[in-house]
Subunit: 473 residues, 4 copies
Amino acid sequence: MSIEIKGLHEECGVFGIWNHPEASKVAYFGLHSLQHRGQEGAGIVSNNHGELYVHRDLGLLAEVFSADEDLEKLKGHAAVGHVRYGTSGVSKIDNIQPFLFNFFDGSVALAHNGNLTNARSLRNDLERGGAIFHSNSDTEVLMHLIRKSSQDTFKGKLKEALNQVKGGFAYLLLTEERLYAALDPNAFRPLSIGQMKNGAYVVASETCALEVIGATHLRDVGPGELVIIDDSGYTIETYTDNTQYAICAMEFIYFARPDSNIAGVNVHTARKRSGKKLAKEAFVDADMVIGVPNSSLSAASGYAEESGIPYEMGLVKNQYIARTFIQPTQELREEGVRMKLSAVRGVVEGKRIIMVDDSIVRGTTSRRIVQLLKESGAKEVHVRIASPPLRYPCFYGIDIQTKKELIANNHTVEEICGMIGADSLEFLSEEGLIEAIGLNFDAPYTGLCMAYFNGDYPTPLYDFEDCLLINNE
Amino acid sequence: MSIEIKGLHEECGVFGIWNHPEASKVAYFGLHSLQHRGQEGAGIVSNNHGELYVHRDLGLLAEVFSADEDLEKLKGHAAVGHVRYGTSGVSKIDNIQPFLFNFFDGSVALAHNGNLTNARSLRNDLERGGAIFHSNSDTEVLMHLIRKSSQDTFKGKLKEALNQVKGGFAYLLLTEERLYAALDPNAFRPLSIGQMKNGAYVVASETCALEVIGATHLRDVGPGELVIIDDSGYTIETYTDNTQYAICAMEFIYFARPDSNIAGVNVHTARKRSGKKLAKEAFVDADMVIGVPNSSLSAASGYAEESGIPYEMGLVKNQYIARTFIQPTQELREEGVRMKLSAVRGVVEGKRIIMVDDSIVRGTTSRRIVQLLKESGAKEVHVRIASPPLRYPCFYGIDIQTKKELIANNHTVEEICGMIGADSLEFLSEEGLIEAIGLNFDAPYTGLCMAYFNGDYPTPLYDFEDCLLINNE
Amino acid sequence: MSIEIKGLHEECGVFGIWNHPEASKVAYFGLHSLQHRGQEGAGIVSNNHGELYVHRDLGLLAEVFSADEDLEKLKGHAAVGHVRYGTSGVSKIDNIQPFLFNFFDGSVALAHNGNLTNARSLRNDLERGGAIFHSNSDTEVLMHLIRKSSQDTFKGKLKEALNQVKGGFAYLLLTEERLYAALDPNAFRPLSIGQMKNGAYVVASETCALEVIGATHLRDVGPGELVIIDDSGYTIETYTDNTQYAICAMEFIYFARPDSNIAGVNVHTARKRSGKKLAKEAFVDADMVIGVPNSSLSAASGYAEESGIPYEMGLVKNQYIARTFIQPTQELREEGVRMKLSAVRGVVEGKRIIMVDDSIVRGTTSRRIVQLLKESGAKEVHVRIASPPLRYPCFYGIDIQTKKELIANNHTVEEICGMIGADSLEFLSEEGLIEAIGLNFDAPYTGLCMAYFNGDYPTPLYDFEDCLLINNE
Amino acid sequence: MSIEIKGLHEECGVFGIWNHPEASKVAYFGLHSLQHRGQEGAGIVSNNHGELYVHRDLGLLAEVFSADEDLEKLKGHAAVGHVRYGTSGVSKIDNIQPFLFNFFDGSVALAHNGNLTNARSLRNDLERGGAIFHSNSDTEVLMHLIRKSSQDTFKGKLKEALNQVKGGFAYLLLTEERLYAALDPNAFRPLSIGQMKNGAYVVASETCALEVIGATHLRDVGPGELVIIDDSGYTIETYTDNTQYAICAMEFIYFARPDSNIAGVNVHTARKRSGKKLAKEAFVDADMVIGVPNSSLSAASGYAEESGIPYEMGLVKNQYIARTFIQPTQELREEGVRMKLSAVRGVVEGKRIIMVDDSIVRGTTSRRIVQLLKESGAKEVHVRIASPPLRYPCFYGIDIQTKKELIANNHTVEEICGMIGADSLEFLSEEGLIEAIGLNFDAPYTGLCMAYFNGDYPTPLYDFEDCLLINNE
């Protein structure tokens, strides 16, 4: 079962725009800044006076839209786009979003970031009633629920459907007349509204996408909210009152771009603060602080600043990233051939190193990096992690491994330290992380979902109830 | 004329290996770490018991070698590879290296990093004598000179030819029996020898390529040296005694990867020292220091460390780099749509910024970044450049613009400051740069070619003598 | 409306196989011989112990399956395949068959040759009930009807669904346990069963596909029959008793390959007989008989043999056919630049020609060929058509134009003769065609649908009732 | 050695045009009609006011020029094009023509149909003198000879070079100011001049290329002639007086398109006459005559007409030809799976067949076809070949196998008949073929090279002298 669960989890990015003469082009640039949220596939649906056009494919955005024509055929004043996270095995074009549905009474495009916890039950029920699904994504479920709804209006049907799906979701829907954006009742996933200089409204997974298109940030979408955008502007309604803020902590720690703000908190700044906190909680004397590029550089510079130990570039990441690479054979790997990350011998040789990373999942990457540093002559490697140990899976839209695979689920910090070959290892505390991020929403979650660290899931798990048990076996 | 000069200049990367059962695969991983030196095209020639095989094409390495078969057909125990820098307009497969020449009496592969100053004269002379060239690269000239030579041995012919070509060059030649590496008499371009765990010898443009394949650095190739590698090991001869060290300063400032060492100096460390030097020479009070990613981060952290001003991530570079992108239209650009670089509003808003960059060429990029920062709310932007003003073109292998296009050729620092919209602007001094890099070779150049800053070219310019005059018009 | 009707009509080819270790490979070779029935796209679904795999794409079969891996991943002992006819405008991968449907309770693949007359009504009804369609092909309707059926077994559901769809259809369905083949109650489209040397059963649109894979022809599928193939052999049931034979006459005249047999009649032989009949009905004295390649060569040789006039190669067709070609500009066309068909000046110059063609649709092709022959020096061109004038559209699966576009709908034979520039023009009579084909089924149709010639449609037209009226305006 | 000889031999097509505003487009359409002469690769070089542009690649013409842009970038009023025959193993882009040479004093494009007999000697001599070759085609030799020539003018150099190369050749050269066409002293290969309606001059390998572009045939190029075309019209000079007509008989028998005329003789008509001759020389009673598509259909219809035996379509060739196909495995082949050719069971079953083919090379194809016919129920298969037995290789430009591989070199007609499984086998006599083709040039060859049949080569063989001996071993 664990494999299937893994396959269902995904982190993605969505972008929508209404009322811009080059809507699909703006969507392209917005999505480009969200590429870190998904590299398996990308797509855009445009709306040209009520006619919807789609272009989507496997690959990075620049591969999917490799020619000007790919965008030029997506005419119209409105668009929604999607970048999809790649989980091996289920990579096929049928799963690439946005989905475009054509009915005798109109067309609808749908894009989704998140993961439903009751998708399988809903899907089986729908299939028993004669429904035919065309992807193995859980996104399609919402459209079936909309079409089955007995409400009168599209908005009514949509609200009814949103109350049936459970889990984490940020949905964008583009119809012939409107752009809709909906967020789950816990605000697990980020979603923000902005406005361009020409007045066009945009909705995006992260505020970095607003920045790159020159848009002003208006507000974040709140839990249980439904945003409706059309030519008369935007209005915000709710589809449920049973809401709270439990934003995914991993967005701050790892996923989001450092230049994005979530709930008003800049991600780089939160990470730097967590590095400072870490320096206070887990100081060690050394010659230099280095970060694991790219996501840990902010935390590392925070640790350095707080501790007064110099911040150095001890690891270099090859910046030429392709989706697929020819990999070294086992023999070559044993000879020391590597691809992505290099230790800087000229910097680390003979030095005592504090290596700051954002998190440890299975421990293999950490072990490899510690080894890299030692092979390049580092005298000591002290690992400091700017988040607490990961002990529980996520069911709301990120591909964190099952409990079994999480090294911290089965091992003490001391054991992990030995397994990764570090001279010492310490994690940031839960309180430290919460304070560093600094949200101030209501209890019990005060704004953050920390379930991966403490197993405290803000919702029932429905189809995944068994997973926690199974993982314990 | 200026356009043609630009077209001829190029910075590339070379990699060679002898005596490894998976030679072409190792070459692939070595070249991947040299990808920053050239993104237009790539190729590898392998040597399988005297038979030479080639695969080369336009594109990034991962595009050129997109399938395992592409490498598997390059069987053999030896290989040379090349990544080529893209200068617009002359992009065609005929120019992608290594070149493979088949003769009735044997085959030779040739790869070249650098630029000749007398290529046009030599080529015209050779064509007058009946020679036929197949590329418009100056690399082919060497092979014609070798074939025309009346010496008895291949080595003798090669040495004679090396004495005829002038300028900057690092050549790799693979014959059926040997791998040759030759460096120009000024050592303009870097070139290092290493040895793998299995005993295989490798030669590469930068030491980072030795690191990623787990090879030990043996020594750098010196000016006027010819390295000869075969099954009995490697020997080093010279083809001329008229040599000196004048390593291209731009390799330290901008081109080389921070984890490489050149002449024993680590590039990151040299850059960080130049940042510290800059903080001493050109201090200004501010709230934070930020670097322009990626090449200026080392200098920026040096400036921060020396000045005691916090180092922050004020600019973010999109890490998903493709060779070609759909570009924003002029209209979208005016609305503020950007692609590669974003200012981090949450960090810079309301702050006084010291923005450290490695160099200013035409000034357009600097102006754009200063504007980005101001649009994102920066109160002041003080630009500090970790190298002296660029005033002269380079003829030894890097694509620095003609004098006319160099903003510092025609304008004072004060004028440039106004043009880029900065609140203040200062450059590192020549002495400061030399000291920061810290080479200790003999006078007059003490190891560094600084011609772009002071016009003091270490060699005659041959075909380019007129360029300096013309540019002055 | 006419454009939409055109888009819905299509001629395709289907192929199914059960119980062969290389099922998908055999399907590939079978489909290759059916490529003349559809060039827009192709696909195969295989069944490997109950798991269904699909590969399909736009393009010719050899383009869709361009690498051995494309077939090798379609493992299993059973397969269905499809080649699709290209009608401009609706060319997108979502419409390429076979469709593969995955349900929680099993998977089904579906391939269809034909056209339904009540697809739009059924689809709208289904959508009103919440159904979501993913293609704009009418094929998907059958699967929705199956899933909605309240019958107990798959076979029961399928039979119920087959009684709801109207028009022309040859369906192949592949489930985890069985291969089903169903033919419409009028046997409009051909469908034959064969057996390979290893015992495997195959079903194909034409017998030529049986020949190329070395299979023996067992029998043709009859109207209203449902063939069920599994590991225990094949059985034939009926889903309706309300049947008759009204095989599409155009299969004999134009569509089918000359080496196929339909209802026991060889297509080449039928065409040759129609040529002979034509020579008797419409003799004219001349120097030679020529056929329009490739479909009219059989009729032309029949005309020559009967009349005693020599059969010559007066027209040559370029055999290098791609799906898409760069087309001559209007200017070049006026200078006489052509692509596909050439007149043989050395043969026709100064000669009186009888040009035999299979049919005239809009008249433009005939006019162009007559002109070609005259420009190459033909003294006289007498056009003889081996079928009656086309006056009515087809609604059962072939893309014959609407009435308006059919030249014979609005013009007398004499008028057409003038319009195409021929010296004389005659058509084969309806009786002549029926006799030449020589089927012997029961009245009223005696085996042949001749509706395009006489408007006598063997079924009600449902959604297309209006078309005949509209076309008369 | 035999393998290498095979690799060097090739049949190609050339096309040149001067003075047409859409020169490269016309070249494209002309080359499309010459596609049967070469399917490995294609290319066009255009001349736009002295600037030469090239586009060439592996593949069929429609693959190489797949987008309008591919032609649109080839601007200019003149062009030369080439289609290349594919011999396995040497398929690489460097060998695809036209070759484009850029010199400091001008550019030249070169296209070649034929094979030189002294290419290797010339090449080795040139390499010893320092020349560098970039393809393994023998075409490049001519350009080296031109550049080495001490004559004053390009025309003078070209004539000198043409006197140094030996064998069969039709060359097209495009310079900045002129289009040159040259034919070898024996006129082995066909080459014709035509004029378009707008006055543009064209030169093409076959007259079918003149027909498809609406050009009038002016004259064929004669042996030893050099055609010079520029804005002032065309002039014809000779570069040698030592000439005779010995046109390759295989052009009439197999290679050329039936609608082409060579030396005033229509190819279809020559083939039909050879079929009639064959019927007289080798009559046999049977139920029908069938031809092997496509090249033997003319001869078959001639045999039928002369003998009075009906001409039927007993074999069908799949018209969807791609360069590469997935091939049946050995197992499938044994089950009877085939790709290209099908016997028509409905026609041949129970019948006595006369199967007419144009030639027998290794006998494997004939054996396969006889077997196909018998498996489809043919009672008797009498094979009649419309040319004499092939006993000797060709060195002038067609890829006829070495003596060893030619079945008629080692076996009597009786033996061959047994080997191919025919009920009887007869070949056309040499005299019969000569008479059927009907050329009337001077003795000794009276216009035809028949060396493959009788070993009487019209020239010395130079580098290939040994081949005949070696083949006899």
